[in-house]
């Protein structure tokens, strides 16, 4: 009797476990905040990824896109799973330093999400794997040319640039008749709105941060034909013909403060929140902002359509144009070919293919990096604003893929600060920047056997 009972209990247990195992199997493909794919998969990839490309994104539309696209990928790759390591928002340099250290210790993720201006460091360290076998030539060609200086080296492609942005000059069209084209125009218009309407003139995040470089230096510098690096990553931004060009930029920034076109506050602005608060209060005439701000301004300003418009960056000369463009790239670190292929399939189906980029850019309010998306996806090709962004991207520039870029950018931010607070003249600051940059370069060169 007891024996019989034992047998039946065991049988029942077996049955239950089979049923549960079945249920588990059916339920096995998931998209969670730290995992994508089959939870029981034996083959698991790891990725370091931005929060906004996980279902933890604060935007519903982004979450919806990821849930759908990642699920589709996961169903197509049932033996695989991806473990997500979410990067910390706003801590780019710490995250990148950590990833570099992980890579050096051999514990890095299989593929990573990488801010475009950090790609150089990973390339120079020899950490990125070529991805040419996994993408078609047509896909490669579709990306804007200016992205290739970062994603390609020696004819091989190492990264997929997922989205970008452009910086623009936004202005109050109801107060300013002709949008500024030159620096002089800008200062004039800023002073005019101040005098006539009693609001702030021109705001830009010129504080000591990457913004000082990306929003306030490179576009002005490149439009004059300036170059940051020469052969072998040698910094040349403060010597030869470039010297005067950089001096022009610093002098312009100083003029903003001296003429009162911009309040002194811009010296400590390291982000856009303070600028948006003035926009919202109808208290500023001209601002530097990114392409993403179009929808934000619509959200926070009443009758935004009648008040705000944007134009390309003002430049020293009226007929020159340039933009500095950001965005994040995706790159593969693992040397395992099978993993490389699967990682690339994830990257392409979430971000890189034409369809994926179009869908993701729509859901994320991003700007595509492939010209074919702008040309043939109706959301972009029929929207006048998107087409104006497209025009802007034709003047696009990427920050150079050099290990020294973050260093040079940091020095530039410090030197611009020195000029703005009146510690140094523009010429002194540029010379000091060049001197320090060369010291850094020589030391760096010594480590590149």
């Amino acid at each position: 009797m007891a024996k019989k009972m034992l047998v039946s209990v065991v049988m029942l247990l077996c049955l239950v476990s089979v049923v549960f195992a079945q249920a588990e199997k059916e339920d096995a493909i998931v998209v969670t905040e730290d995992y994508v794919g089959n939870v029981n998969a034996e083959k698991v990839l790891t990725v370091a990824i931005n929060r906004d490309d996980t279902i933890r994104s604060p935007y519903e539309s982004r979450v919806a896109y990821i849930e759908e696209a990642a699920m589709k990928w996961a169903e197509a790759h049932p033996e695989w799973g991806i473990e997500l390591k979410v990067l910390t928002p706003g801590q780019i340099s710490q995250d990148m330093a950590r990833l570099l250290t992980e890579a050096e210790q051999g514990v890095a993720p299989d593929f990573i999400h990488l801010d475009s201006f950090w790609v150089g460091n990973f390339l120079d360290a020899g950490l990125l794997q070529p991805i040419d076998p996994y993408i078609t030539q047509a896909d490669k060609d579709a990306f804007f040319d200016w992205t290739k200086g970062v994603t390609m080296r020696d004819g091989k492609q190492y990264a997929i640039w997922g989205e970008t942005d452009a910086r623009l000059l936004y202005y109050r069209k109801d107060l300013i008749d002709t949008p500024p084209r030159t620096w002089d125009d800008l200062i004039e218009a800023a002073l005019m709105v101040q005098d006539k309407y009693g609001i702030k003139g021109f705001l830009t995040p010129a504080g000591q941060s990457e913004s000082a470089s990306n929003e306030n230096t490179w576009a002005y510098f490149w439009a004059q034909g300036g170059e940051i690096f020469g052969e072998n990553s040698r910094p040349v931004l403060g010597e030869g013909e470039n010297r005067q060009k950089l001096i022009n930029v610093y002098a312009f920034m100083k003029r903003l403060i001296d003429t009162g076109a911009s309040p002194k506050d811009i010296i400590s602005m390291t982000g856009f929140d303070p600028i948006m608060s003035e926009v919202r209060a109808d208290n500023v005439g001209l601002i530097i902002q990114g392409t993403w701000a179009v929808s934000q301004i619509n959200d926070i300003v009443e009758d935004a359509d009648e008040k705000w418009d944007f134009v390309p960056y003002p430049q020293m000369d009226a007929d020159t144009y340039a933009n500095s463009n950001g965005g994040w790239t995706w790159a593969v670190l693992t040397e395992d070919k099978e993993k490389q292929e699967v990682a690339m399939s994830y990257i392409m189906s979430m971000v890189g293919s034409k369809d994926a980029m179009a869908a993701r850019a729509k859901a994320f309010n991003y700007i595509p990096t492939r010209s074919d998306v702008f040309e043939s996806d109706s959301y972009f090709s029929d929207d006048p604003i998107q087409q104006r962004f497209f025009e802007e991207l034709k003047n696009g520039h990427a920050r150079p893929a050099s290990s020294l870029y973050p260093t040079i950018s940091g020095l530039n931010a410090r030197m611009m600060g020195e000029v703005l607070i009146g510690n140094k003249t523009p010429a002194e600051a540029v010379d000091e920047l060049q001197r320090l940059a060369l010291v850094e370069w020589e030391e760096w060169l010594g480590t590149q056997n």
Binding site: S93, Q94, A97, L100, T101, A103, E104, N121, F122, A125, L127, G207, Q208, S209, P263, K264, D265, I266, I267, S268, T270, D273, P274, S277, E278, R280, A281, S403, P406, T407, G410, A413, R414, M415, M416, G417, E418, V419, L420, I421, N423, K424, E432, L436, V439, E440, E443, W444, G446, T447, N449
Partner: protein, 294 residues
């Protein structure tokens, strides 16, 4: 006989057995990284690049950097003002709380509140407070009072002052609570007998309170000096070391070297300098305390 016994007890016994766990933990988990810093300071090592060569170039680069003197100056101003005001405010607060009048509990509580705010959040918070924008409460009040807005973080002197205030705000709780604990431990009889001898409150403060507090003040001042030399997170979040490097203290410089410029060698040199600064100041404090006792 008792005295004799005490003397023998003190000399006998294996003191090191009691210290062993401490030495083990420090040795196993922390010593190697510390030694690495020392070694790395003599290299040109970069983050993410395991290859390096031994060289004095990191020391040379730090010592010949024209900004070094400004960094040291900013560090000393920041640290010494922070230490002074934290100690001073902490002591005053502790003495006042000791009076135990209505509201003392809330003072204690609010002091602790400020103290538990992590450094980065301190910086972010004070940035919101100093802002010239709609959420900048300080400027709002200033303007309500009829003055024009103050660009706290855009002026070199104001920005450094702002960073010191934020640090004092956060750190005073630590000193205050320590002093308060020490004050509570001073026997009341001492004050009572001083009163009988006709000492004024001021006199008994100098004759009783201060000497009794001295050991605690000593630990306190050493620690907040070390903390101040090592503070980078609140300044980073507040000003990023700007404008124009005017709030770049040595630990922030070390942070930038390692995390923005990836120069591990140079960051290590800064770490060594910071340690030396802490040691020098600790020795000075010890000297001061000893000489006063003589």
């Amino acid at each position: 006989m008792l005295l004799q016994k005490r003397a023998t007890l003190d000399r006998q016994g294996k003191w090191w057995v009691w210290v062993l766990p401490l030495l083990l933990i420090l040795g196993l988990f922390y010593l190697y990284p510390i030694l690495s810093i020392f070694r790395l300071s003599f290299t040109d090592s970069r983050v993410g690049n395991p290859n390096f060569s031994y060289t004095l170039s990191s020391y040379k680069a730090v010592l010949t950097d024209v900004t070094l003197w400004r960094v040291l100056k900013v560090t000393l101003i920041f640290s010494l003002s922070s230490v002074f005001f934290q100690l001073f405010l902490g002591l005053i607060t502790a003495l006042l709380i000791k009076k135990d009048l209505f509201g003392a509990g809330l003072v204690k509580l609010s002091m602790v509140f400020a103290w538990v705010v992590p450094g980065i959040i301190t910086g972010i918070m004070w940035q919101m407070i100093y802002s010239s924008n709609s959420w900048g409460i300080l400027n709002y009040v200033i303007q309500k009072l009829g003055f024009s807005a103050v660009p706290f973080l855009s002026d070199p002197v104001l920005a450094l002052t702002a960073a010191i205030i934020a640090n004092v705000w956060r750190g005073t709780g630590f000193s205050g609570i320590m002093q308060y604990a020490a004050l509570c431990a001073i026997p009341n009889e001492l004050y009572e007998s001083a009163k009988i001898d006709g000492a004024s409150a001021w006199q008994s403060f100098w004759a009783i309170t201060l000497p009794q507090l001295k050991p605690m003040l000593m630990i306190n001042v050493v620690l907040i000096t070390i903390y101040s030399f090592n503070t980078y997170d609140s300044i980073y979040a507040l000003t990023r070391g700007g404008p124009g490097g005017s709030t770049t203290v040595i630990s922030l410089q070390a942070y930038e070297s390692v995390f923005s410029y990836l120069q591990l060698g140079r960051g290590s040199v800064y770490a060594i300098f910071m340690t030396l600064l802490s040691v020098v100041f600790t020795l000075i404090y010890i000297r001061l305390l000893d000489s006063e006792e003589k």
